[in-house]
Subunit: 209 residues, 2 copies
């Protein structure tokens, strides 16, 4: 049995303790006959269904107490794994969800690091620069590379600090490990979404047994 | 005599107390024979030189005490008009420059509001949304529109607040008026860059008289 979390850029897989990602263009045929998936991208979902048409959508087996309309299924999955704290998926977008007493209070969306790069290249040739992610946040920028890198990093880190209000922060996603090091009260867990999916799978098996 | 500040998106003009902008594709022939300009875009500079080849570049007539390498000439112009404070040009990019005792200490670059929009459309169809700029910053977002709008607004406003450290903030640029309302200690002045250019013009006339 394989779990698959289909994002806007990659398909993320989990199988027997192993986690990996594949791009929709180069997705490999899976030998397992059962793939449980969630998806925020219809386009990338097609890529999975092409190699495994009998895959099962876990979306109907989630419940989350929230007033938020249109919350992505990956965010719902991750939020289900904790009762209190901030759930952050740092990928092509950065989603920030606030949980309290088992309730989802609301959430924010910021551009991810890779998106910032595309964005600045689009504004001006002079801003087509690879940011330096190793800079000290307290440095005063003295060139375009530092000005863009620290503008991006400080604005994201400050924002997370402010909306987290001292809660524990649970990071996942491609840049989750990187961002977690800026916060003492944080945990990086690449399994966050998959743990939520495992909970939904239990519901699935209860209803289908 | 006309002043022209050539940006990445528009050409900004000043003439006899009037300020206006023109897009490089639709730039109108100017009757005045003397246009003094500064430019951060070679492509858009061409558009000006096509209608007025004898235009004069003011860039050589600026001096700014700074260790920053590659500071845009528009930022240099605006910074020359103040001795202490934060100079923010909120356009397609948001530049934030820190002045103290007549010295430029350094600066940051953030994406502008319009760039955020392009950016999110690039990540996912679901994020192709016009943000709501009228939202209360303390609202807890309950849908994608609010999540993106408040992610963008709060991260920019918090960032400016933090790096300004109580200094007076001088806003200019297309979104300058909008952002200035979030800060008690701020002044919106669409003439900031032009005032700097007027100072450089005095130097030009001294050297060429």
């Amino acid at each position: 049995m394989i779990l698959c979390d289909i994002g806007n850029t990659f398909l993320h897989f989990y199988h027997e303790g192993r986690v990996w990602k594949e791009s929709p263009q180069k997705i490999l045929r899976k030998r397992e006959d059962k793939i449980f998936y969630i998806s925020v991208s219809n386009k990338n979902l097609e890529a999975l269904l092409n190699i495994c048409p009998q895959s099962i959508n876990l979306a109907p087996y989630f419940t989350l107490d929230t007033a938020y309309r249109g919350l992505g299924i990956d965010r719902i999955a991750a939020c289900q794994t904790i009762s209190d704290g901030v759930v952050i998926d740092a990928g092509s977008a950065i989603t920030i969800d606030i949980m309290q007493d088992g309730m989802h209070l609301g959430g924010y969306i910021l551009p991810g690091i890779a998106s910032y790069l595309r964005l600045f290249s689009g504004i001006s040739e002079r801003l087509r620069i690879m940011p330096d992610l190793s800079l000290d946040l307290d440095l005063m920028p003295q060139n375009t590379k530092e000005a863009i890198s620290l503008g991006m990093l400080k604005s994201i880190v400050n924002f997370i600090q402010e909306v987290s209000k001292g809660k524990i922060i649970y990071f996942s996603g491609g840049d989750g490990k990187f961002f977690s090091k800026f916060f003492k009260n944080s945990i990086y867990n690449e399994m966050l979404v998959f743990n939520g999916m495992q909970k939904a799978m239990e519901v699935y098996y209860e209803k289908n047994s």
